[in-house]
Amino acid sequence: MNLDDRLDALLGASGQPAASNPDDDDARALAPLLSAARRLMPLRDAQPAADFAGRLERDLLALAAGRATNARPSHVGMRAVADSDEPTLPLLVPQAARGSNERAPRAALPRWLRSLPAEASVRGHRTRRSATLPVWARALAAACMLLALGSGLFAAAANAQPGSPLFGLHQVEQWARVSLSSPADKARLHLQYASDALAALDRAVAQRSGDPAYASALATLQSELNAAATAIAALPAGQTHDALATQLATFQQRARDDLRAALPGLGWSDRVATTAALGGLGESVPHVIGAAIHEIAGRDAQAAAHGTHAVQVVVSGSGLVAGARLVVNGQPMGTVLSVTDGTLVAQVSLDPSLVGRVVSIGVENPDGTAAQTSAIDHGAAVTPTPAATATPTPHHGGHGGHG
């Protein structure tokens, strides 16, 4: 074996130098090279800062969402991302792209303000400056807002809650206030608005208000949290930054606790949206990438007797745990045959009226978190498998939550 091969063997399959063997002549000769390789080991353990990683992920997903709404479907049979199961923001809520916390809810603005250029796509996490309205536009907008605030319409909107028809107008007022604030005050305002949204969400849960109050409050909470995080990140290092960062972290924990507590009482679609929000707050939650429906070759006797259609459903994703159940079109059904972190396999006896009309397939973990997808493929037929212990399908509780 020549020295090239010997060195490669000593580095192993993963490029990590083996411990030196004093009896090995080749290892002794190659010791300086192995020492040089060991100098690279600290790089193997390097991790990006957690706050940087979180911010970058949010920005990238916002970039993708912006591109997806302008993209045409690339595959026949697949829904465009605009119809995806990620919770969509109400039209009047600013997007969470970096530096965009001052963007106005465009639909509610006067036409002359709507004609201003939109922010460019998100690039360069640290070195780019955010696109903001010119100072004169902000001042003029503020003057208009001050005049408008004198009217009864804005007075009524000032107390509007998520789900109310006047809530959009309320958000315009909030945008005006934010746009005239200092950077630190922007962060404080966004934290306050996030806190208001969480309070509204808690009320909606307690009063079993359901959609749209809950969904609107949840979307506002996510948007304001993202805007607060962006505003805090833009502050220079110092006491103010640290204090606001601590406030944000404390509030995020409160939000996680409240969202978890809300899960059991929610309808299916609100549960999916809440799970996505928990994922955005750093919680470990299920994700569903896609699903496939396979015909079962030959119909088992029981299915034939009941006039049902037996299929096998395979759900792909991550974060799936033992005890998870299959949910089809917002209703739990079927018998789960196997569950791993990335795959759930279930056998379902579909009512004939549902055949060809399955629009969403999801998974619900025992802790109430849930995810679903509308990307459903129809695969090749499979042979019948023995049914595992049936997954109990209790009556699906909760309020609101139209699927």
Partner: protein, 221 residues
């Protein structure tokens, strides 16, 4: 460090297909899986966490913008594509730094390399910072191919065969590049305790038959 692998029960091709359609879940999964890979590569090229974050950010932004046209179907193909973007971003940043005549490879006082040294131990932190700076400076004196092989093998943990596929070369060529690269690094970093032009062979390695040991090492340059 565990080299990145994809869960066998979750087809990478399925995730990639959904990511091409800009599905946020799929993109998030790719991001979380490959973030350490890109960051470590960038840190190995630049040696400064702030700049490495810039490169990482630019790389993933390009990923989102260009993934629709990506033809790769498997994890290694995707890795090759993503790392080529990172390599280009790093090269552009280095050219900009050279143009501005900034000193390359030194870490600002305010930033510490993450997970390189134990917190609360100033001497260890300082030592780690200087060591990383010296290592990256030495890496940048290698040829591009040598540097890529060393980073992919010793930092990112790819096997020789995988590096060959990533770089479009034969495995034997990769082993030869690896040998020359580590020999050059040994010379530049002073990890060869008995280095002198008369004593070493063509690649800076003392032949085993004439190996001699001394009581102390040469001081680092």
């Amino acid at each position: 460090m565990q080299r990145l692998t994809w869960p066998p029960e979750l087809p990478f091709s399925l995730v990639l297909e959904r990511a091409r359609a800009l599905d946020s879940t799929a993109l998030g999964m790719l991001y979380r899986r490959f973030l350490p890979v890109v960051y470590r590569f960038a840190l190995g090229r630049i040696g400064e966490p702030h700049a490495a974050e810039d490169i990482t950010s630019e790389t993933f932004s390009a990923m989102v913008e260009q993934i629709g046209a990506l033809r790769a179907q498997d994890e290694l193909g995707f890795s090759a594509w993503l790392l080529s973007i990172a390599r280009n971003q790093a090269a552009m940043l280095i050219r900009r730094k050279q143009t501005r005549r900034e000193q390359f490879g030194e870490l600002p006082e305010a930033r510490q390399p993450h997970a390189v040294a134990e917190a609360g131990d100033p001497l260890a932190v300082l030592t780690a910072r200087e060591s990383l700076s010296e290592t990256v400076a030495a890496l940048n004196r290698l040829t591009e191919d040598q540097r890529a092989v060393v980073l992919y093998r010793c930092v990112l943990g790819f096997s020789t065969e995988e590096v060959a596929e990533l770089l479009g070369k034969q495995a034997g060529t990769i082993r030869a590049l690896q040998f020359r690269a580590l020999a050059s690094l040994a010379r530049l970093l002073g990890t060869n305790p008995d280095t002198s032009p008369a004593d070493v062979g063509a690649y800076g390695v003392r032949p085993a038959a004439s190996a001699r040991r001394r009581g102390r090492h040469e001081p680092r340059r």
